[in-house]
Each structure stands twice: as structure tokens, then as C-alpha cells.
């Protein structure tokens, strides 16, 4: 919800969440998968070093998403329909 308002104001915003179906349904424009509800950018099962690496990857993906042209809702809908 927040990222849509930020996008609406003209600033690219990427959502990091594990709830991809929801993000898709609510038509968030840029989404990067998070790890879990209780730990979107972390994984307590990993060692601290591994966890930091994972976090770095997700964060890098998020930054990258901000530099890419986002799919508009009509392209996405057409893609959904073709599936």
C-alpha cells in the first residue's frame, strides 16, 4: 500500500515482501521477494555471515528494481491472461 502511494507521487518504490500473491493482486508495481513474514530481509536459520549475504542480495535486487522500467498494469494483465 505504501509503495503505491510513493509511486503515485512519482518516486519509484520497490516492495520487499514474502507475500507475493498479495502484492501481485494489489498490483504493486515493483516487488522483490522477501524471506518470511517474521523476517523479510533475514533468515535466522542461517549463520550471521550467510544471513548478511542474503540480505545484501535482496537489497541489491531492490535497488536494481528501482532502476528498471516497471511493468504497467495492462502488460501484467495481458501476461496473466496468456498464462
Amino acid at each position: 500500500m505504501l509503495e503505491k502511494e510513493i509511486e503515485r507521487a512519482g518516486i519509484p518504490a520497490v516492495l520487499v515482501t514474502t507475500l507475493l500473491p498479495t502484492a501481485r493482486m494489489l498490483r504493486a508495481n515493483r516487488v522483490v521477494p522477501g524471506i518470511g513474514i517474521t523476517n523479510p530481509l533475514g533468515d535466522p536459520r542461517l549463520s550471521p555471515a550467510e544471513e548478511k549475504a542474503v540480505r545484501k542480495n535482496i537489497t541489491a535486487s531492490a535497488l536494481e528494481a528501482l532502476t528498471r522500467k516497471a511493468q504497467g498494469d495492462d502488460e501484467r494483465a495481458a501476461q496473466d491472461a496468456r498464462r
Binding site: 493482486m25 495492462d74 502488460e75 494483465a77 495481458a78 491472461a81
Partner: protein, 424 residues
């Protein structure tokens, strides 16, 4: 001298249908020479075993494997109909057309890959379809050995249309029950002050056996174009879909009695100025869809000059995209749109997303129901068609629990239905 396109529909009301020695119509009763009719249909060697059966309203009869439904009609001028499909091509939409109103001709067939429908003439299922109130002449035809699906489909189509004309000819020389004239020019002086309304008719065009025929040619070969509404209700467009579900195609009967066209026509000159119809195919790539919607909207805006348009689609979720593109293209030119569509809500009716495409401009939608909803049908005494159908388990004579998508016009994307959804 400029002659307006004027069509006189001469209705011959049917109150009963029976077999008899001679095919004839008298006082509402249609008699059919079964042997003669079978002989006529059997001329097409692409068909195998052929039979004809009759189903009347109120009978505990279940008609299965229904592929298309048309109406017995004939053009007085040339003794033919369904221009481009049968005989010599002629201009549809003018002259006199005799209609055996209250009767229908059903193509009953089955082959791997074809999806048929099911009509109950009595019981709870009968309220979901208009055909339960008609006298149905059912043409049953199996494929000849080694015949492919496309050829079989064309042969069945020929059988259904030929039968419709054969029966329609029984009205020649007789006085109709009533006559309705369709003439867009015959109207009051102030029609120019009334809002200009058009109809955008999306036609499926996803390949052989999955698209209607326009004057005998496949819909995918057409760019968006303008047809006179008379042409559409006078046989220029015929259903050619066999391998898509009953619920997502418009039967020939529906097109001949198109509720949007007739509804607009009957208000023409009184509440609105019916400017005309644009037909538009439903292509299979987004780029083509965008081109098509742009061109269709251009025709509506700059040639027909409409203020508002009703849009209908044919097909599955894919074509929600076409519907929304057309909506956007029209609204961006200032044309007010109303869209008719069914919903895809799952068997429980709970899906959060009713359609597979959305648009901010689609603020006036008419729902023709949830196509995934399940219905209970009682057992029936008699089956016309085969005892089994693909996708439905068990003996069709018994109680059934099936999705509504099997009922012709149960879901009607052209709006020929009373079904809709209610939020709970």
C-alpha cells in the same frame, strides 16, 4: 435514389412441432418429414449416422452434446439464408425474412476436442436457458470415419444451417403472425438530438473451430469494420465455435436475436440514435489487440460518431484484456462505455478478482454471472443426444452437479440472459 437498408422480419409463431408425412407449417404447428430432412443432411459425406429428434417445453428431456443452436428462417427473395455459408452470397439485412419464432434447430454432435452443452426442458435447469421454452428440432450427426475435427465442425454447421432453411421454407406463401420492420432511417425528425449510441461486438478469432463466420469467412481475417445492425440479425454472422466451452461463445440463435442490437433498435428514434455496430476480432497478441482496439474506437468515434457504446466480448479470460483495451480506447476518445462480461469467481464465488484484466475506465459493468458456479440438476426421463459427455461424469440421465458453463445461454456474454451476481 438512395434506398435505406430495410428489413422486414415476418414472424410465424410456433406452438408445436411434430413429425409427419410432409414438412409444413399451419396454425402454429410445424410438421417435419423426418426422412426427407435426414436425406438432406446425409448429402454431406463428412457426416456418419444422422437422426432428428424433437424436444418440447415441459418435457422431462435433457438434450446433451449441444454444439450450436440456430433458428428456422428463410429469405423470401431468394429462398435461402445464412449468406456466405449456404448457396450464393447475398446481402443480409434487407427484404423480407420469414422466422419460425418459438422453434430452434440444435446441432448435436461429438468428437474429441469439442465441448458441448446441455439443455433441460423441465426442472430447475430449465430456468437457466431460453431454449427450454422453445420447440427444439435436434439434428444428431456423428462424424464419418477418419474425418478431422475442423471438417466435422463445418459439416455439422452445414447440417444445422441447412435444416434451419429447410424448415423456414415451410412458411413460403403464408401470412405471418406479425411483422417487425428494421429501418434506421425510418425515424422521427429529432433523432439527431438524441444521444448517439453504438455497439461494439467483439468476435472470438482464436483459430479454426474457435471463431464465428462473417458472411462465410473466418472472423480472424477481419479488421474492425462496420456492419449494419440489420446484417447481424439477418444471418451475416454465424457461430463457428466448437472447441470452446458453451458459456463463452455466442450461439447463432443469440446472434440472430441479438439482445443488445434489438434493445437499441427498439429505442432508436425515441430515446437514442442507434448509430451502428462495429465488429472487431479478438487477436492473440497484445500488439494486435492494441491495434484492433484503436481502430475500433476510431470507427465508433469518427465514422459512426457515437456518444456512448455498449461492448460485449466472446471467450475466456484472455479476452477480458480485449474488453479492457476497447474500453480504454473508447473512453480516451470521450466515448462513454458500458461493458457486459461474466465473472470468474471460483465454485464458491469467493475469488477476489472477478476478471482477468481491469481498467480504471471500466466503471460501468454488467455482470452475466459467475461462470464457475455449480448447479444441481434433477434426473430426467429422456436423453436426446448421447448418454455421456466429456467433462461430465456418469450417466447424464441422473441427477447432476455441474458448473453452469455447460448450459447454453446460462452464461451469455452477449447479454441474452437474466443471470447475474449478488454480493453476500
Amino acid at each position: 435514389m438512395d434506398e435505406a437498408m430495410k428489413l422486414e422480419m415476418c414472424y410465424f409463431d410456433v406452438s408445436g412441432v411434430q413429425f409427419g408425412p410432409t414438412t409444413a407449417y399451419s396454425d402454429g404447428l410445424l410438421t417435419i418429414n423426418k426422412k426427407e430432412l435426414i436425406g438432406l443432411v446425409a448429402q454431406d459425406k463428412r457426416l456418419g449416422a444422422i437422426n432428428v429428434e424433437i424436444a418440447c417445453p415441459g418435457e422431462r428431456t435433457r438434450i446433451t452434446n449441444v454444439l450450436d443452436i440456430s433458428e428456422p428462417r428463410v429469405k423470401v427473395e431468394n429462398n435461402d439464408y445464412f449468406s456466405g455459408m449456404l448457396g450464393e452470397i447475398h446481402r443480409a439485412g434487407e427484404g423480407k425474412t420469414n422466422v419460425l419464432r418459438g422453434a430452434a434447430v440444435l446441432e448435436i454432435g461429438s468428437i474429441e476436442g469439442f465441448y458441448g452443452g446441455l439443455i433441460d426442458m423441465a426442472g430447475s435447469g430449465s430456468s437457466l436457458t431460453p431454449y427450454s421454452k422453445m420447440h427444439n428440432v435436434c439434428i444428431l450427426a456423428t462424424p464419418a470415419p477418419d474425418i478431422g475435427t475442423v471438417e466435422y465442425g463445418l459439416a455439422l454447421k452445414g447440417a444445422g444451417l441447412k435444416t434451419s432453411v429447410y424448415l423456414g421454407r415451410a412458411t413460403r406463401g403464408l401470412e405471418p403472425t406479425s411483422v417487425e420492420t428494421f429501418n434506421l432511417d425510418q425515424t422521427s425528425a429529432h433523432v439527431a438530438d438524441l444521444p448517439g449510441v453504438g455497439y461494439l461486438f467483439q468476435l472470438h478469432s482464436h483459430g479454426d473451430s474457435r471463431e464465428p463466420f462473417i458472411y462465410g469467412d473466418n472472423s480472424r481475417r477481419y479488421y474492425p469494420t462496420i456492419l449494419h445492425p440489420n446484417e447481424i440479425v439477418d444471418g451475416a454472422i454465424v457461430c463457428g465455435h466448437y472447441n470452446i466451452s458453451t458459456s463463452i461463445k455466442n450461439s447463432t440463435y443469440t446472434i440472430l436475436n441479438h439482445p443488445v442490437i434489438l434493445g437499441l433498435y427498439r429505442r432508436h428514434g425515441k430515446e437514442l440514435n442507434f448509430k451502428g455496430v462495429v465488429i472487431s476480432s479478438e487477436p492473440t497478441s497484445l500488439a494486435e489487440i492494441k491495434r484492433t482496439s484503436m481502430m475500433a474506437a476510431n470507427l465508433l468515434k469518427h465514422v459512426l460518431r457515437v456518444d456512448g457504446v455498449i461492448v460485449t466480448k466472446e471467450g475466456g479470460g484472455h479476452t477480458d484484456v480485449d474488453l479492457m483495451e476497447n474500453c480504454d480506447a473508447c473512453e480516451s476518445l470521450g466515448i462513454k462505455t458500458v461493458l457486459i462480461d461474466n465473472e470468474w469467481l471460483g465454485p464458491e464465488g469467493t475469488s477476489e478478482l472477478p476478471l482477468l484484466a481491469v481498467s480504471r475506465n471500466a466503471d460501468a459493468m454488467i455482470s452475466v454471472g459467475n461462470v464457475d458456479a455449480m448447479i444441481e440438476l434433477p434426473s430426467m426421463e429422456r436423453i436426446i443426444g448421447w448418454e455421456t459427455m466429456p467433462e461430465i461424469a456418469g450417466d447424464l440421465r441422473g441427477e447432476l452437479y455441474i458448473p453452469i458453463r455447460f448450459i447454453p445461454n446460462g452464461i451469455s456474454q452477449a447479454g441474452f440472459t437474466y443471470l447475474t451476481t449478488e454480493g453476500h
